[in-house]
Amino acid sequence: MPIHPTHYLMLRRNLLYTAMTRAERERAYRALSLARALDERMWRLARAGRAHFAVPCSGHEAIGAGYALAMRAGIDWLSPHYRDLTALLVLGMAPRDVMLHFFSRPSDPNAAGRQPYAHFGSRRLHVLSLQGPQPNHCSHGVGCAWGSKLLGDGSASVIAFGDGGAQKGEVHESMNIAAVHQLPVVFVVHRNGWTQSVKRESEYATDSLVARAAGYGMPGIAVDGTDVEAMFAASRSALERARSGGGPTLIDAQCVRFLPNTSNDDDTRYRDRTALESEFAVRDPLVRARRLVAAAFADAVDAENAALAQDAADWAEAQPHGDAQTVAEHAYA
C-alpha cells in the first residue's frame, strides 16, 4: 500500500480566513471566552485554597477549539490533553460539570471525585478518560481509532498531548502503530515549549516536532496554535484524511503557556514573566479570536460567560462531598 506522501504544510492566516463560517467563528469565540472565564475562576479559587488543584489552559484555548469544532460531537473521539478545557466545552461538557470536576465532587461526570481536575473523560461525549502519567492516553486513542476501523463506523479520533509528553516512548509507539495500520487518527501536540519547569532545549533538540511525522510516514502540519482558524483548518483537513482512509496526521500546534504549570507551580523560579506577558499580549488566542467576531458580540459573550462561570462555581462548590461507604464501588464490575 503506498504511503501517503509526507508533506509539511505551514498554514498561513491569509489562506485561512475563509476557513470558518461566521457561525463557526462565533461558536469558536464563545468557547474560548467560556474556557477563559472558567479558567480564571478556577485559578483564583485554587489559589484561595477553596479547591485542591487547578490546571490552567490559558494560551492553549484555540488548539482544542480548533479540532473540537472540526470533530463531529458524539461521533468522533477525543483522547484529551489536560489543557483541553475548550475542546471539552465545544464537545458538550456543561460549565457546571467542569466545576464539579474542579471541586472533585462525586457527581463529577469526568472522574466521580476520584481523580483531580483536568483528568477529563466522558463516554457520552466520546472523550476517553485521561490519566495522571502523561501521555499514556496516546495508545488508548490509537486503540480507539483501531476500534473505529474494525467496527467500520466511520468515526475518527484526535489524540492530544504536550511537547513534554511527546518525549516518551509511548508517543513513538502510538504514532508508529497508527501509521503501520493507517488508522483514522489525528495526533496533535500542544507545543508550549515547557514541561513544567524544563525548557524546550532540555526536552528536544529541534525547533518543532513536525518533522517527526516524516519518520512515521505520515503527513505533518505545523500550525500557529494560538490561531483558532488555522487550527480548525488543519484539524479539518487531517480529520478528513483520517475518515477517508488516508491514515494518521501529526499536527504541531505551537502556543504559549501563559500561567504556571498548575496551581502548585511557581513559574517565576524558571522563567521571566515580563517577557512572557509581552509575548502573550500579541499571542493570546482569545485576543486573536476576538478579531474574528463583532466587538459587541464578543462583549456580550464575555459578560454571559462570566456569569456562567460564577454560577457553575457557586453551584458546584455547594454540591455534597463523597460518601465513604461508596469508595470501594467500581473496583470491579
Binding site: P106, P109, N110, A111, A112, R114, Q115, H119, G121, S122, R123, L128, S129, Q131, G132, P133, N136, C138, S139, H140, G141, V142, G143, C144, A145, W146, G147, S148, L150, L151, G169, E170, E173, S174, N176, I177, V180, H181, E329, H330, A331, Y332, A333
Partner: protein
C-alpha cells in the same frame, strides 16, 4: 474426554471464542503469520484473517495501551506478551490504566481486556525468558490474575478471562505448554475466575500452589502418601482475587500450610497466603514457604538453574519437615483422643484405702509415658529428667522434702476429697490423691503450662489411673 496439552487447550479456547464472539481479536508479536512463538495462535490467521489476528510491532507498551483503547471501545482484545519477562514495559497500562479505568470513572469507562503471557523457568531460558511476575500484578486491585496449570483450566480460565468485564492477566507457565496433558471437556466449559480447586485431597498438610509448581507439589505429595503423610494440594488457579473460602476450608482441616511457588521468596504470593492463614488463626504450626531464593534472575546453566528452582525433592523435604512438627508415632495429632479423661486435670477413680505403693508405681509409669510431666522448666530450656524421683507429701506429719522431679500429695482419710496440688520449683507437675470415700477418690493434677500441654495432662492422668486399675485387677486379667 479428549486429552490435550496445555498449549492445545489455549489454542482451542482462542479459536472457539473468536468464532463465538466477533468482538474478540488477537494482537501481539509473532501471533499472526508465525502463530505465536509457542504456537498458541497457530491457524487463527487463516481462519479469522488479518483484521482479527494482528502482528504487532515489538512494542509492549503500545500493545498494552492499544488493547486498553480497543477495550474502551467495546472490543475484546486478547494481547499476547511473548514472554512475561517483557511485560513490565506494559505495566503502566496494566496497573496504572486498565486496573483503574472502571474505578476512576465510576464505571463510565471499562476495560474488558486480556493479556496472556508465558512465564516460568525450567527450560534453560536464562534471566529474561524464565521469570515469574505474579507478585507485581497481584498487587494491583482492579485487575484479575489467573494462572492455570492443567489443560482444562487453561481453556476454561481463558474463556472466562475473555468474557470477564474487567481486565484479566493470564499467566501461562511455558513448561506446562507441552509437558502437561490432560482431559479437556468438550464444548463451552468455563472455569470461573476466583475459584481454586482441590487437586489432591488430603488431611495432614495443605499445599497451596499453581502453574508448574502445582505438578511438582503433586509429585511430592504422592511420594509421601506411602509414608503416612496425607497431603492436600490446592490448585489456586486464580491468584487475584484469591479463593479464600477454599483455602481456609482446607486449612481448617489440616491446620498446616506449605506454599509452593517458583517466584522469589520475599514479598511473593507465599507471604500473602501465610498472612491470610495467620490472620484466620487456623495454623497449629508455623507455615512453610518453598520458593526460589531472592536472586535477581534465573541462571541458564543446567546445574545452576536446577539449584534455584523448587522441585518435587525440595518440596518433599519441606513437607516432611512440616509433618515432623508433630509427636512421634503419628503423622498428626488427633483432635479427639478417647484415652484422655473428659476433665483432663481431675479424674475420679476406684481406689482402696491402702494404695500408696501402687500409686507410686503408677506415677513412675505415667512419668515414663508423658516425660513432659517429669521435667524442669527454665527460660533457657525444658529438661526432661532421665529418672523419676517422687517427692511425697503425706501431710503435716510427713511433708515433702523438696528436690524430687515430681510431687505426690496424699493426706489419706484426714485430707480433703479434692484439693489443688501445687507445682514445686524445679518440677513441672504435681499429683494429689484425695480422701477415699466408699472406695473412690478424686485425683487432681497441676502442671506448669510453660512446659506441659493441656492434652498431655490428660494423657498423664490417663496413664496413672490405667496403671492403678491394671495393678488392682491381675486376677481378672488372668481369669479372662
Amino acid at each position: 474426554m479428549r486429552e490435550l496439552s496445555v498449549i492445545e487447550a489455549v489454542r482451542e479456547a482462542l479459536f472457539e471464542e473468536m468464532a463465538r464472539d466477533p468482538r474478540v481479536l488477537l494482537l501481539g508479536e509473532d501471533v499472526a503469520t508465525l502463530g505465536g512463538v509457542f504456537r498458541a495462535s497457530e491457524g487463527l490467521l487463516e481462519r479469522f484473517g488479518p483484521e482479527r489476528v494482528i502482528d504487532m510491532p515489538m512494542a509492549e507498551t503500545g500493545i498494552a495501551g492499544v488493547a486498553v483503547g480497543l477495550a474502551m471501545r467495546g472490543l475484546r482484545p486478547v494481547a499476547e506478551i511473548q514472554f512475561a519477562d517483557f511485560i513490565h514495559a506494559a505495566m503502566d497500562h496494566l496497573v496504572g490504566e486498565a486496573a483503574k479505568m472502571r474505578w476512576r470513572t465510576a464505571g463510565d469507562w471499562t476495560c474488558p481486556m486480556v493479556i496472556r503471557t508465558a512465564y516460568g523457568g525450567g527450560f534453560r531460558g536464562g534471566p529474561y525468558h524464565s521469570q515469574s511476575v505474579e507478585a507485581f500484578y497481584t498487587h494491583a486491585p482492579g485487575i484479575k490474575v489467573v494462572a492455570p496449570s492443567t489443560p482444562a483450566d487453561a481453556k476454561g480460565l481463558l474463556l472466562a478471562a475473555i468474557r470477564d468485564p474487567d481486565p484479566v492477566l493470564v499467566l501461562e507457565h511455558k513448561r506446562t505448554y507441552r509437558l502437561i496433558r490432560g482431559p479437556v471437556p468438550d464444548g463451552d466449559v468455563v472455569v470461573p475466575i476466583g475459584s481454586a480447586a482441590i487437586a489432591r485431597p488430603g488431611n495432614d498438610i495443605t499445599v497451596l500452589s499453581y502453574g508448574m509448581m502445582l505438578h511438582e507439589s503433586l509429585a511430592a505429595a504422592n511420594a509421601l502418601a506411602g509414608e503416612g503423610i496425607d497431603v492436600e494440594v490446592v490448585d489456586l488457579r486464580t491468584l487475584l482475587p484469591l479463593d479464600r473460602t477454599t483455602i481456609l476450608r482446607s486449612l481448617a482441616k489440616t491446620r498446616r500450610l506449605c506454599v509452593v511457588h517458583e517466584d522469589t521468596l520475599t514479598m511473593g504470593l507465599g507471604a500473602e497466603l501465610c498472612a491470610l492463614a495467620a490472620e484466620a488463626g487456623v495454623l497449629e504450626v508455623p507455615p512453610v514457604r518453598v520458593a526460589m531464593p531472592d536472586l535477581p534472575g534465573i541462571p541458564v546453566d543446567d546445574v545452576l538453574e536446577d539449584a534455584v528452582l523448587p522441585n518435587r525433592a525440595t518440596i518433599r523435604a519441606a513437607l516432611v519437615r512440616l509433618a515432623g512438627a508433630v509427636p512421634a508415632g503419628s503423622a498428626r495429632r488427633r483432635a479427639y483422643d478417647a484415652s484422655i479423661p473428659q476433665a483432663s486435670s481431675v479424674v475420679e477413680i476406684a481406689l482402696p484405702e491402702e494404695h500408696t505403693r501402687a500409686a507410686l508405681d503408677a506415677l513412675v509409669v505415667a512419668c515414663r509415658a508423658v516425660p513432659a510431666c517429669n521435667a524442669s522448666f527454665a527460660w533457657s530450656g525444658i529438661v526432661n529428667h532421665a529418672q523419676v524421683v517422687v517427692d511425697c507429701d503425706f501431710g503435716p506429719a510427713a511433708p515433702a522434702r523438696g528436690g524430687g522431679t515430681i510431687t505426690l500429695i496424699d493426706y489419706g482419710r484426714e485430707g480433703a476429697d479434692l484439693a489443688i496440688p501445687f507445682v514445686r520449683p524445679g518440677q513441672t507437675a504435681a499429683l494429689r490423691i484425695g480422701a477415699v470415700r466408699d472406695g473412690r477418690a478424686f485425683v487432681a493434677c497441676s502442671v506448669d503450662h510453660r512446659a506441659v500441654d493441656g492434652a498431655d495432662v490428660g494423657r498423664f492422668l490417663a496413664a496413672f489411673t490405667t496403671e492403678l486399675e491394671r495393678a488392682r485387677a491381675p486376677e481378672t486379667v488372668h481369669a479372662g
